[in-house]
């Protein structure tokens, strides 16, 4: 077949299509290809050269992870772009077109002339393939939806896989980067000194950096105190809303304020906590109580929502049976509803604990910023004395690069030492991730186990 015929064929094909579909679809199509191919080329670059001054395995894996992060979404974009050629709804197009623009911008940063050429060739190839595909199916059956259907399904599945790969990628990358600094000592030693860590990083002194157990214990203490307040309060409110309240104005106002509390940004809660507990009239300074209370404000709406949902999913027949036996409402709630809702409540509260462990800014503002001096475990009397800085893991992660650079004396000038400093921050992150994943795993197994045990599901 000669060229002019082929061009005519393409032209006819495009003529049949709706104009807007065509425009946005082809835009996504092209941007998807550009982004993914530049990702591939980046991958090759990473594999072939040792460009960065870290030619270790971790640097390489960082590159590969980065390339994959670029390639996977753009492949999804590519297939969605194709999907759009067939579909008709506008909201879809708008949202996805924006995503396309973002990825295109990202890709445009490192495009060269030869790249643009190869992208052109690739685009042409893809268009031809697509047309051939289309012709095949249209010969078989008029308006056959199978191609769209399958591609749509593929695109949807891809987006699900992207979710999983983001999480796995983040955890894997953290583990790889943290690996030089992770040891048994890191988990179990309570002494940490930034000066010592900086000396070890510089290679001045050898040996252990110390451990973050003190920070871990501080985090757990804080979250424990926070749940000590937020759990009874949240359960009480949830019981009232799920079992006692009627659908009236007052209840809807209460609900509105719970949502409003959930919507207050953590930094605002932290600021008010700082003003009230740390520098305010209480004159506590950084303390366990102030930090725990502020954190409890944050976690309270979560607890209420979780417990209420769990109680609402208990079948009404359970309650009716209990009432029929002559039980009062409180007896019913305590013995029947709470018991049946237990799996949901335990799981939800544990997930909330996990989220509270990862909270940073509230904790930094109220329980205390990381001190630049050495950190040892505060004693029990110190912890409850209202005036002691409570060290936490998240603040450790946040401040690690900054405090290390103060101590190493190397600012942004030497890339290698910056890389190492972030490695230490990621070692702290690794400890936090291990704890967080453990809590999540416990929460989910508890849900499965108790569901089987109680509900007989």
């Amino acid at each position: 077949m000669n060229l002019s015929l082929r061009i005519r064929e393409i032209y006819n094909y495009f003529k049949k299509k709706k104009k807007e579909n065509l425009l946005i679809g082809s835009f996504l199509f092209v941007s998807g290809i550009i982004a993914s191919s530049s990702g591939v080329i980046h991958l090759f670059n990473a594999l072939l050269s040792d460009g960065f001054d870290i030619s270790t395995l971790s640097g390489l894996i960082a590159d590969i992870t980065y390339s994959l992060l670029l390639i996977l979404p753009s492949l999804a974009l590519f297939s969605i772009g194709y999907m759009l050629w067939e579909s008709h709804s506008l909201g879809w197009k708008l949202s996805i077109a924006t995503c396309g623009a973002v990825i295109l911008l990202a890709a445009a940063n490192y495009l060269s002339v030869e790249l643009t050429l190869s992208i052109g060739v690739l685009t042409g190839l893809a268009a031809m393939l697509e047309i051939r595909n289309r012709k095949k199916t249209s010969n078989k059956l008029k308006d056959s939806p199978t191609v769209t259907e399958n591609l749509a399904k593929f695109g949807l599945r891809l987006s699900g896989i992207v979710c999983v790969s983001i999480l796995v990628g983040m955890i894997a990358y953290t583990a790889v980067r943290a690996s030089p600094y992770v040891s048994w000592d890191l988990f179990t030693n309570t002494n940490w000194s930034w000066a010592n860590a900086a000396r070890v990083l510089n290679g001045v002194s050898s040996g252990s950096m110390g451990g973050v157990l003190g920070y871990t214990i501080g985090s757990l203490l804080l979250v424990g105190f926070c749940e000590f307040i937020a759990l009874p309060l949240g359960l009480g409110a949830a019981i009232y809303l799920a079992e006692y309240s009627s659908q009236n104005k007052l209840t809807s106002i209460v609900r509105f304020f719970i949502e409003a509390l959930a919507g207050i940004p953590s930094v605002v809660i932290g600021l008010v906590g700082y003003a009230v507990f740390v520098v305010g009239s209480t004159h506590w300074g950084n303390s366990l109580v102030g930090g725990g209370l502020s954190l409890a404000f944050m976690i309270l709406p979560w607890n209420i929502r979780i417990a209420e949902e769990a109680m609402k999913s208990v079948p009404t027949s359970y309650r009716e049976a209990s009432f029929a036996l002559g039980a009062t409402q409180w007896q019913t709630v305590r013995r029947v509803v709470l018991f049946a809702a237990l799996p949901g409540i335990i799981t939800g509260v544990l997930l909330g604990v996990g989220a509270a462990l990862g909270e940073t800014i509230v904790v930094a503002m109220t329980a205390g910023d990381a001190p630049s001096g050495p950190q040892v475990l505060p004693t029990v009397s110190q912890v409850f004395s209202f005036h002691t800085n409570i060290p936490t893991l998240t603040v450790f992660i946040w401040r690690a690069p900054q405090l290390l650079s103060l101590n190493t004396g190397a600012s942004g000038s030497t890339t290698n030492i910056v890389f190492k400093m972030y490695g230490v921050a990621l070692a702290g992150s690794f400890v936090l991730i291990v704890i967080y994943l453990a809590i999540c795993a416990i929460a989910m197994t508890a849900r499965n186990y108790l569901n089987k045990k109680i509900m007989g599901k």
Partner: protein, 290 residues
Amino acid sequence: MNSKLLKENFIKAILFLCALSSIAIVFFIVIYMIDLGYPVIINWFAYGFESGVFNILPYMFDSLYLALGGTLLGVAIGIPCAIYLAEFADMRLRNMIKPTLEVLNGFPSVIIGVLGFTLLCTQLGRFGLQAFLCTLVGWIVLGVMSLPLIASVSEDSIRAVPQDLREASLGLGATKWQTTTEVLLPTAISGILASTLLAFGNAIGETMAILAVIGIATPPPITLNPLSQSNSITALIAYGYQETSVGSLRYLTLFAAGFILFVMTALTNLAIRVLMARRNKTTSARTNKP
């Protein structure tokens, strides 16, 4: 009998107090912010944001711009994921994705921020880009953070579409994909929008994840260029609270800024409420039809 009733009422009163506690907390926080920030807020009302004591307009713009981009990125991956989970997923993949979303939802934001810096910012710097701390990376980081929320809430609202609508569409000979785009998505659209708004509100208030990656330009330029440094109200507060002495004008400004932040998130919450009320009306109207 009477003492039993007394006990019941006593317990009910205590539970009611628990429910009221969140109202008290919200009032406490808001009144505290207004109490400290009112000189600055009044100043803003009198002279406008730009010519008042502190120009907060660029910070507001950057906060909204960051949140908008991040949410759209979350929507682009989250909603297809929700559709897949609700309608198409086989058990194996569903059992993998659902827990992932749950874990991702509470993932420590500070780690995402640190990863965003070492993984994305330094890589951008590698390509010779001058400003490697930029809005673009902020978008990506916020997209990752809003993804699980959008996906799980949207999935719930797609699942909540009555089964008979699905069956009617399939019975008319529509394929599964046609049913999804023509019936399910239009019906569930208000729930999906609500999830997006929820993520948007969270993104406005997000602090830790973006603190490390956007750069702290003071004052931030009002520009649409995603490769420029930016700032946000949350970053303003998070970096400002230590550097200001208690009671100074700058200190009061922080509270006024916090109040602005609260108003912005409260407005998104209000929009969600309106949307959900509308959804409940439409679904109940649909199901009540004979």
